[in-house]
């Protein structure tokens, strides 16, 4: 990673992500004070539909639009276009590195 790329990521982290850390809804895990009888999250939405397999991610504009649509009304609202705007700087990134042997990488 070049110094310029690193600076861009640090800037994005501080401007866009760090301020979100204080917002309760950023993290979906609700810390229960007492053990619950069950931790299953019910997700019964019926059989899968064709739309469940469709995402518009064919180019930068479509990706930004899809992300912003998904995040509309939530704590990440508007972040899609700003995140994707970083992508031209990383166009030459190669995914050569193995995943870490020391931690289950969130990425």
């Amino acid at each position: 990673m070049t110094r310029r790329q690193r600076r861009a990521l640090e800037r994005f982290f501080r401007r866009e992500l760090l301020p979100l850390s204080a917002r309760e809804e950023i993290w979906r895990r609700e810390e229960a004070q007492e053990p619950a009888p069950s931790y299953w999250v019910v997700r019964d939405r019926g059989p899968l539909r064709r739309a469940d397999f469709e995402l518009r991610l064919d180019d930068s504009d479509a990706i930004a639009e899809t992300l912003d649509g998904f995040w509309r009304g939530g704590p990440l609202e508007g972040l899609g276009r700003r995140f994707v705007a970083l992508s031209p700087r990383f166009r030459d990134t190669r995914l050569d590195a193995e995943v870490s042997a020391f931690v289950y990488e969130m990425f």
Binding site: D52, L55, L57, L67, L76, V103
Partner: protein, 610 residues
Amino acid sequence: MNARPCWVVGISAFYHDAAAAILRDGEIVAAAQEERFSRRKHDPRFPANALNYCLEEAQIEADELAAVVFYESPVLMLDRILRAVAGAGEKGIGPWLDGAPGWLGVKLFFERSVRQELGADVPVLYSEHHVSHAASAFYPSPYDEAAILTIDGVGEWATTTLATGDAEGIRVLDEIRFPDSLGLLYSAFTQYCGFKVNSGEYKLMGLAPYGKPIYADRIREHVIDLRPDGSFRLDMSYFGYLDSLSMTSERFHRLFGGPPRTPESRISRREMDLAASIQAVLEDAVLRIARHLRQRTGMRHLCMAGGVALNCVATGRLLREGIFDGIWVQPAAGDAGGALGAACAVSHQYFGLPRTPAPPGRDRQHGSYLGPAFSNAEVRAFLDVRDYPYEEVSDEERAQRVASTLAEGKIVGYLVGRSEFGPRSLGARSILGDPRDPATQAVMNLKIKFRESFRPFAPSILRERCSDWFELDADSPYMLVVAPVRESRRIPFERGESDDMLAIVNRPRSSVPAITHVDYSARIQTVDAAVKPDFHAVLRAFEEKTGVPLVVNTSFNVRGEPIVCSPEDAYTCFMRTDMDVLVLENCILRKEEQPKFEEDRDWQQEYELD
């Protein structure tokens, strides 16, 4: 006139074990992991080689594809990642700087990669990670309807999913979400015991029978809140994977008596007991989930996938408990299998194709022999051009020769037919040995595989003889079920309190010591003549010569190397190790007849230890 076939390609990539699979009208045609071609273990890159192989095997051009489907949703994945990074506050900067470039340069632009590789404008679809796992478990299974359980580290948000599958498709019911994860819990103990995350989990499972589960109560009391219905919650103060570069936290280390074991250092009693303890907790959780799922769905059969489904000790216990009438586990249960599952989900649920009936008594996975094969002409061409001495024999003669060689206590590398899809070698890319010899386990571990001496080997046995030797009278074609060796075959054995694992390993435990683990268990492959006739013939010939219908079967590779794919890979591995004989289709090569094998580099530096 026939309607145009519906070709669907599934792809998994960008995390680990990239793979491609291709289906014709919902029927599996081919599937392969990229690592088998690139020779890079767990290769995460876009699987260009595997994709090309799939198109070649299908004999189609890219523009004939109805769709390419990615095995997870980048949108949901990014949602989880950005929330986790933001939620970690200042500590999120490290993971962010490590991971963001990959997303911004590669992962968000999957469609660009597809267009570049295929040179065609093919529709691209996406299947959620656990839907892909669920589809990989249900659609190739022999069942018309089944409950489905997927458990892994994490997909997008889900880490454990309950679902059903029937003629109407897959229906997701309930899930447990990140960061609560049985896969990550097991990986945390894997790392703490000095093994690598994502590959060392198998070692931890193999280590468990050497220990006692003395920490199990401590894990249940402090680390995981496991409810009667199998749902669970982790106390994240014991873990580091949300905001550090370690799976475990200082609090975890204090709870279990010190810092993590240094990789490759001596394994102590503590690691053995920790392995036994987390294995006990995992089995407990899996059994509770299975009971809940049976009650929730009322279905008689269970299909499983996700990395945790590869824990064949837990699966074997689940089978023996009889919670379900039948269990089918996707042999490529990890992320590679997600490619297959994504293609299945889209074929059946997006394009609405009906499932083809399974052959009577069998599944739709074709023995998982879904990778490349090499003809005798191709093998001869490879050997002739290099002047490597060999003898070409008939199928029958090959089986006899292999059996005789094994009966002499020698080790055979065996490459016959299409290669396996999934992490287990099933007699297409295998190293074979004599299970009767007490020294086989140590010799194969230390001189052939160059891996830890404690690691057990698995038997391949004639299906029709399985219950004579093991407490299992069911198909286990994919080596995914662990069952005890029959009492009548056992030799009284005291494990003792010793920490000297080599001494324990070398003590015979049965009349087939090389495949009998210290707790008398074995990870069994049953071999059916209708599915893998050449390998069945080897086992039958070995039985005729020795009275024993099973052989040692381990993957054809050395530690850290992907399983061999081509005759060249196999020859190289053969010459680098102490194998005695190599079988390449109908060509047999003897080590003593081969020219000196010279390499201009130290091959042991080539592969990073797993």
